[in-house]
């Protein structure tokens, strides 16, 4: 099987043509005529495109716990590890190369208290009491694994499939595959804390896909998008008048160039930008949200206000048709608990617990959860052996991701790690499998979603990716 997996990345080359032939223009107002193939993508890269199969989810909200949350202290209890606390790791588990060279250190049990929650009785530790209330909506994948040892490669892989930068982010692939459902807002939005994500914008880059598919970072404050605000002193009326003049210039230029639809698309791009100038500030304006809603997301508490705001923004964005929202919690490796995990995770769990629970509750109450795939996870988990006595090192060999909504069957765990939580042993789910499954829920087949680049029909899962069927069936 592995061999086939490694060899099949060129099999479906001709399907892309078929895909594009079926892809028409979804954008009213652009007389683009018969658009096929790359020409279509170039003329109107964000035109709506039909999915490969009926989608279960319309949007994704990806809650990215950057730095690597400890699965064995949150969703994956290991009684055996607690028993072996203080002992060296038995050789039978296989000694890995770790980021900090800690594999010879003694095992460290989890001091957390664990409880069964909900109808399904899923385990959650006392670090996530609010999220625990939603377990019946969660599919907890306990057997995730990845290839990177260090943050930057691992964050990059969780976004792009490869630990080496340069490939398109999953959000970019989704934008490329489905097009935009609301042209007045970006299709792929990234939100973060006040620190920068490791590796920065390359994590939401379009890679070798055209630039139109890259993620847009929403900044804090009332100007979420770079260059959104008109220059100082330029009123909306004045801007409109300038644009009217620009339209005149462009239309005169295009007079004897009617065949050139790109010129027309460019005229249209200014109109879209103008509309975005109005709609984007509206989406980040939370003044019309009720106090109850704000409270639900923890906006009334200084610990949770920042991430809660991002979670609330995420809901407002998907409500308006934004397809892919990625929220970093602890951006800049916040969860990276090499020492004193108690303080580190204590803080980040408090920061994320109530907002995430609030988001799930709010989406559900508004009937949005069924169309919105919510994903929670980090770039890797943490080791069962200690680092510096009270911390844990990076663990890409086994960790937890959970999904909810968007067609996901809740109240279940999928896969398992070994007895100490070091490696995924049962039903391992590689990053590519996670990506393939997310795409599947959005109606995209990760094998057929291809783009020709330097002689290869590239796809989001590179040469891998198997669907985690348990998620929806």
């Amino acid at each position: 099987m592995a061999m086939i997996g490694k060899l099949n990345h060129h099999w479906r080359v001709s399907s892309r043509r078929e895909f594009f032939t079926r892809a028409g223009s979804g954008l009213a107002g652009l007389a683009l005529g018969a658009m096929v193939g790359e020409a279509a993508t170039r003329r109107d890269p964000l035109a709506l495109k039909p999915s490969h199969h009926a989608p279960k989810a319309k949007s994704v909200i990806w809650l990215f716990m950057e730095g690597g949350p400890s699965h064995i202290d949150l969703f994956d209890p290991k009684p055996k590890l607690n028993e072996m606390h203080g002992k060296p790791m038995p050789v039978s588990f296989g000694r890995p190369i770790t980021a900090m060279g800690t594999a010879g250190n003694s095992l460290m049990g989890s001091p957390r208290t664990w409880k069964h929650y909900g109808q399904s009785g899923l385990w959650v530790s006392d670090w996530y009491p609010h999220i625990a209330q939603h377990v019946d909506d969660l599919a907890v994948i306990r057997s995730c694994w990845a290839n990177g040892l260090n943050h930057v490669g691992s964050v990059c892989q969780m976004n792009t499939g490869d630990i080496l930068a340069g490939r398109p982010s999953l959000g970019a692939w989704v934008t490329y595959g489905l097009g935009s459902a609301n042209r007045n807002l970006p299709t792929f939005v990234v939100l973060m804390d006040d620190k920068e994500v490791l590796g920065g914008p390359k994590n939401w880059s379009a890679g070798f896909l055209p630039a139109s598919y890259q993620g847009t970072q929403f900044r804090q404050g009332n100007e979420p998008i770079l260059h959104l605000k008109s220059p100082e002193g330029v009123t909306r009326e004045r801007q409109r008048s300038k644009l009217d003049f620009l339209r005149q210039l462009n239309e005169r230029y295009a007079d004897d160039k009617q065949e050139d639809t790109e010129l027309e698309a460019r005229i249209e791009s200014y109109e879209l930008a103008y509309k975005m100038q109005a709609e984007a500030p509206e989406v980040v304006d939370l003044t019309r949200e009720s106090e109850a809603t704000k409270k639900l997301y923890g906006l009334d508490d200084p610990d949770t206000a920042a991430f809660g705001t991002n979670c609330l923004l995420a809901r407002r964005l998907v409500e308006r048709g934004v397809r892919f929202v990625e929220l970093y919690c602890g951006s800049g490796s916040g969860w990276d608990a090499h020492s004193n995990i108690e303080a580190n995770h204590g803080k980040w769990c408090r920061v994320s617990d109530k907002p995430v629970a609030g988001l799930l509750a709010d989406l559900k109450a508004r009937g949005l959860l069924q169309d919105t795939l919510v994903v929670w996870g980090g770039e890797f988990g943490r080791t069962p052996f200690n680092e510096k006595g009270d911390g844990r090192d990076h663990n890409p060999w086994g960790f937890t991701t959970f999904m909810a909504g968007g067609g996901v069957k809740g109240g279940q765990t999928i896969g398992a790690t070994d007895e100490i939580g070091l490696r995924a042993v049962e039903r391992p789910a590689h990053v590519h499998d996670i990506h393939a499954s997310m795409l599947h829920l959005l109606g995209l087949d990760h094998i057929r979603l291809t783009y020709m680049h330097n002689g290869r029909a590239e796809r989001p899962t590179i040469v891998g990716g198997e669907l985690i069927h348990e998620l929806w069936s």
């Binding site: 061999m3 086939i4 060899l7 060129h10 099999w11 080359v13 001709s14 043509r17 170039r42 190369i97 060279g101 040892l149 260090n150 943050h151 930057v152 080496l164 930068a165 340069g166 970006p186 920068e196 490791l198 590796g199 920065g200 914008p201 390359k202 890679g207 070798f208 139109s212 900044r219 100007e223 998008i225 770079l226 260059h227 959104l228 008109s230 220059p231 009326e237 004045r238 801007q239 008048s241 300038k242 003049f245 620009l246 210039l249 005169r252 230029y253 065949e259 010129l263 698309a265 460019r266 005229i267 791009s269 200014y270 879209l272 975005m276 020709m452 330097n454 002689g455 290869r456 029909a457």
Partner: protein, 732 residues
């Protein structure tokens, strides 16, 4: 293209099944026999010298290029367009060759020139301009995946890599023969010892993204070798050799083994970031002066070292212990006993173990810290006799004469070596091992020299064709082969195979002169055609592959910015030097740093000098499709997006440039508004406005004056929109 893809699909399937049946390990053994189809692949055939075809419409033909183009058109019953008007041609040539629009004076000179060949003079003038190198270097920098920083997490600055960018600019301006350009970049250190430019050129293979805190050093080295192999493959051979990293290439006759044979040429290279660029004489002089400084400061420095050495040792030990035992052994093994592979591990891990004085000194506390700072002050008193550091380059050199072994790697995994291979070329072109000779008098393996000579051999079927095609691609907006980085089965077929050969043969005969090639192309009727659209021609050849008209296309982000700076009169034409930091939009942070306040004149230099932070492309360039610098790019995307519109409408700098243009056209007394409008048009579009355009502008200014608060502000708005309009953004 699509037909080819379909054919390729079938072909793939066959290869895949075959490979599966054969099983992984015996893969390379079973696939040695190339099919006749593979051996006959056009790109592997020697470059021929086809006769110039006969055509009917001989009046249109200005050069032999035209005969090749016209013959194809006539075959399909198509006619080419007539030449574009003179103003359009001048603008086209200026933007194409120098990335800057012509000035109104340039245009006047050209229109007034009644000598027999005025356009030839224009082309020669533009090719002689130093701006030519600045413009065309950007194209090669895309191919070379050039950046000023490391990438990965910290994205640290590569402080001297800018010399490579200047090297490319300089090489183009000097019209350095392309074969030499190739040789210098692959093996300049071995082939041209003593030539500083050739040392700088080895930076080509130094442009891989790298991770400063990588823990798995063996894997990291393999990734760098892959990056170098892939880049050399696509950049100089237009072969996607990277597809053969895990298995035989699915489409092209490139064996799994070939990938590692090619890689073996680089197996002994390592990073060297302190390549001295001075002459032996200057170096000696420097050493004498430095020795004096060392002598005078010996006591101070000794004491400083005694203070920080324990700290440095502790830091070393802490880092050292994080590495697996093989790496630690590579460090602790005596230099005389290190294996070649251990040397490479040693060099790769060393930067993570070495701590500078200031890093170690930062660990000092109390009295020690106080004493250290006193000594530092004392030391500074000798700064006046300390010689300035010598200029250095960052590049790639060999680690001595003995190379580590290279193995075929099972599915590309560094830890799964299979059969050992020696340096060798693509088997379909030459199946034997490369003949290697260590260069006399140098501590180097000579491997890269062998590769450089093979690539730059005039008989090589790919090298000249690939470069000629790149040049054609940039002049016409599409290559004769539409995929400049891929001449393989998955790439496009040449639209004019004979022309490509004829040009390639001519290119070699011209001593690989790029300027002669540019000149030949720009003086052709084919290039000088108007972009006029004709429905009947489009019905036959909708993509204009046969070149019945000129391809109108949007300028690159860098050229848009440079053109705006030029017409605003604000462009600083200073050449060369370290990357500069024009302002970033508010709210954008970059890891690795962006100089907060740059000297104003530095902010208005040509875009090619803008610092390239690998993880954060300059927003304006990124929005207009500057490629990701993580891998080679031979053909940029061309997109239209609302973020481009937002940038050009709302960016403060663009507005500054509009103000510049407004001030420039208003700087004469007694101008009527209409004549100001006319001047603005001449600067922005290299033409006077039509009467109706003047009228429309005046109506706008009238309306805008009240909205903007003053006629002056309204005029800035007018200039701003002139710069936003398609006529400004498109090469026509």
């Amino acid at each position: 293209m699509q037909r080819n893809l379909a054919a390729a699909g079938l072909f793939t399937f066959a290869v895949c099944s075959f490979t599966l049946l054969a099983g992984g390990a015996s893969e390379s053994k079973t696939s040695k026999a190339f099919t006749t189809q593979q051996k006959r692949w056009w790109a592997f055939q020697p470059v021929t010298q086809p006769p110039v075809p006969a055509v009917n419409n001989r009046a249109w033909v200005r050069s032999d290029i035209d005969a090749f183009v016209l013959a194809k058109l006539e075959e399909k019953g198509l006619k080419p367009n007539a030449a574009a008007d003179k103003a359009t041609l001048l603008r086209r040539a200026s933007l194409d060759l120098t990335g800057l629009p012509p000035s109104p004076e340039d245009l006047q000179d050209f229109l007034n020139d009644s000598s027999p060949k005025p356009f030839e003079k224009v082309v020669d003038r533009l090719l002689a301009s130093p701006h030519y190198g600045e413009r065309w270097a950007r194209h090669w920098l895309d191919v070379a995946r050039y950046a000023d920083s490391e990438g990965f997490k910290s994205d640290e600055t590569r402080p001297n890599i800018w010399r490579y960018r200047d090297y490319v600019i300089g090489s183009l301006n000097q019209d350095k023969p392309y074969d030499r350009f190739v040789k210098e970049q692959i093996a300049g250190d071995e082939l041209f010892p003593g030539d500083p430019a050739a040392l700088v050129a080895t930076g080509f293979n130094r442009h891989f993204p790298d991770e400063s805190n990588a823990r798995n050093i063996a894997q990291r080295r393999q990734e760098l070798l892959n990056d170098i192999t892939d880049t050399v493959g696509v950049s100089m051979l237009a072969m996607t050799v990277g597809c053969a990293r895990c298995h035989d290439h699915k489409f092209d006759p490139i064996l799994h083994k070939d990938y590692y044979r090619l890689q073996a040429f680089f197996a002994n290279t390592r990073i060297e970031d302190n390549l001295l660029l001075t002459t032996a004489e200057r170096r000696k002089e420097w050493e004498t002066r430095n020795a004096l400084w060392e002598e005078k400061t010996a006591a101070i420095r000794d004491e400083m070292n005694r203070l920080i050495e324990p700290k440095r040792q502790a830091m070393f030990q802490e880092s050292f212990e994080k590495f697996p035992v093989e790496i630690r052994e590579a460090v602790t093994t005596d230099a005389g006993k290190r294996t070649p592979f251990q040397w490479h591990m040693y060099y790769k891990v060393r930067p993570q173990l070495e701590y500078g004085d200031s890093q170690a000194a930062a660990k000092l506390r109390g009295a020690e810290q106080k004493r250290y700072n006193e000594l530092k002050t004392q030391l500074a008193a000798f700064d006046h006799i300390k010689p300035e550091p010598m200029p250095i380059a960052q590049g790639m050199i060999d680690n001595g004469t003995a190379s580590p072994k290279t193995h075929v790697l099972a599915v590309g995994v560094y830890a799964s070596p299979q059969e050992e291979v020696n340096p060798g070329f693509l088997s379909i072109l030459d199946p034997s091992d490369a003949k290697l000779a260590a260069p006399a008098g140098l501590d180097s393996s000579g491997r890269r020299s062998a590769l450089a000579k093979w690539i730059a051999d005039p008989a090589h079927p790919l090298t000249a064709r690939v470069m000629v095609n790149r040049v054609w691609h940039h002049h016409f907006g599409r290559g004769i082969v539409g995929t400049p980085n891929d001449f393989g089965v998955m790439g496009e077929r040449p639209s004019h195979r004979e022309l490509l050969d004829w040009l390639s043969a001519q290119f070699i005969r011209d001593g690989w002169s790029l300027k002669k090639l540019h000149r030949r192309i720009l003086l052709s009727a084919a290039w000088q055609q108007s972009s006029l659209y004709r429905e009947q021609a489009a019905a036959v050849d909708p993509d204009n592959k046969l070149i019945w008209r000129f391809n109108r296309r949007r300028l690159e982000g860098e050229t848009i910015r440079d053109s705006m700076l030029a017409v605003s009169g604000l462009l600083n034409t200073k050449m060369g030097g370290p990357g500069v930091f024009p302002p970033l939009p508010e709210g954008l942070v970059t890891r690795g740093g962006w100089k907060k306040i740059e000297d104003q004149p530095e902010t208005v230099r040509r875009s090619v000098y803008t610092f390239v932070r690998r993880n954060t492309r300059y927003p304006m360039f990124e929005a207009f499709d500057m490629p990701d610098t993580h891998e080679s790019c031979g053909r940029r995307s061309n997109t239209v997006s609302s973020s481009q519109a937002l940038q050009l409408m709302n960016n403060e700098q663009v507005l500054d440039w509009a103000r510049g243009l407004a001030a420039r056209v208003s700087n004469d007394q007694g101008l009527t508004t209409a004549s100001k409008v006319e001047r603005a048009y001449r600067f922005a579009y290299s033409r006077p406005p039509l009467a109706e355009e003047v009228d429309a502008s005046l109506r706008f200014l009238d309306r805008q004056s009240s909205l903007a608060g003053s006629p002056e502000a309204a005029f800035v708005d007018l200039c701003h929109m002139l710069l936003n309009a398609n006529e400004f953004l498109y090469l026509n």
